[in-house]
């Protein structure tokens, strides 16, 4: 009887451990992570990237709806194909990166969760902070859980760990975040499209 109780306890402990959410660190050692932005403007669209991605997401493949997390982008990592234009973008009139160094998305809840295989589609609702203005937004996201793929990605297959790929696309109005509201709309579209495709690896510690 004692043996049975011990077996049961061990099985329960094992089950709870395997079902525990895993923390994923989105500071990618390979430097792949970036948010891409795109807005139409006079002459040609302005497109660029923001590579300074960090943050952590806690994800449980057995219960994706319980996902929590926070993704941070360093505002001064935004760059476009022209250095002068990049400096303008960082300046006081646009993002004012000196005063607002971080762009943050804080996940509040995942809704409409659908899982097929290792991919979960959902709507992520959370607080998006840009240039010091925080607004609640909903973003359609896709989370792909790649079990045991971390070591393979860093060319050390013996290293254990999973990967979590996060994809999404959404649109914001720059004026809502105090970026030249109502100004230069004939030259630079007020609508900014943001696309993210980022990967998180096992969090240290």
């Amino acid at each position: 009887m004692k043996k049975l109780a011990l077996l049961f306890t061990t099985a329960l402990t094992g089950l709870s451990l395997s079902a525990a959410p895993t923390a994923f660190d989105f500071k990618d050692p390979k430097g792949v992570n970036a948010i891409q932005f795109h807005l139409d403007s006079l002459l040609e669209p302005i497109a660029g990237t923001a590579g300074g991605v960090s943050g952590a997401v806690s994800f449980d493949p057995a219960n994706p709806a319980a996902t929590t997390g926070r993704i941070v982008v360093a505002a001064n990592s935004l760059k476009v194909s022209n250095t002068m234009m990049t400096e303008h973008l960082h300046g006081d009139n646009w993002l004012n990166v000196a005063q607002h160094p971080e762009i943050v998305f804080e996940l509040g809840a995942l809704t409409d969760v659908k899982t097929e295989g290792n991919t979960t589609s959902a709507t992520a609702t959370g607080k998006f902070t840009l240039k010091g203005v925080t607004k609640e937004i909903s973003v359609p996201v896709r989370l792909t859980h790649l079990a045991g793929a971390f070591g393979k990605r860093i060319n050390k297959p013996e290293v254990p760990g999973d990967l979590l790929v996060l994809r999404g696309e959404f649109t914001i109005q720059r004026g809502d975040y105090g970026i030249q509201p109502g100004r230069n709309e004939d030259k630079v579209n007020p609508e900014v499209r943001l696309t993210l495709a980022i990967v998180g690896g096992p969090a240290q510690g």
Binding site: V32, A34, L43, E44, S81, L146, R153, V165, V199
Partner: protein, 101 residues
């Protein structure tokens, strides 16, 4: 052979050397700017000093952008170069001021 054939080439009378120089330099600047712009792929956007290359992270399937330094003149540099060249050329046709005695 006539006498005029063997005579050394002379500039039209009354055209100073600086006018001739600018008359050649102006079109050269305009053409060189156009040639540089055309050789870089007729970029009808703004000047770029880095270009993006799309790469694929094989394990995750993420397509990411890698920036590389490159100079691609845009429409504003083309306009500036051609305008400067034409201006230099045009300046050579401005009549000399007559000095009043």
């Amino acid at each position: 052979m006539s006498a005029s054939d063997s005579a050394p080439a002379t500039h039209p009378p009354g055209i100073p050397a600086w006018r001739i120089f600018l008359r050649l330099l102006g079109p050269f600047i305009a053409l060189a700017t156009f040639a540089r712009w055309a050789a870089s792929g007729y970029n009808r956007g703004w000047t770029k000093n880095r270009i993006e290359t799309v790469k694929l992270d094989e394990i995750t399937g993420i397509e990411y952008i890698e920036w590389q330094d490159a100079f691609i003149p845009g429409i504003e540099l083309l306009s500036l170069g051609v305008a400067a060249g034409l201006l230099l050329f045009a300046v050579t046709f401005v009549p000399r001021r007559k000095i009043q005695p």
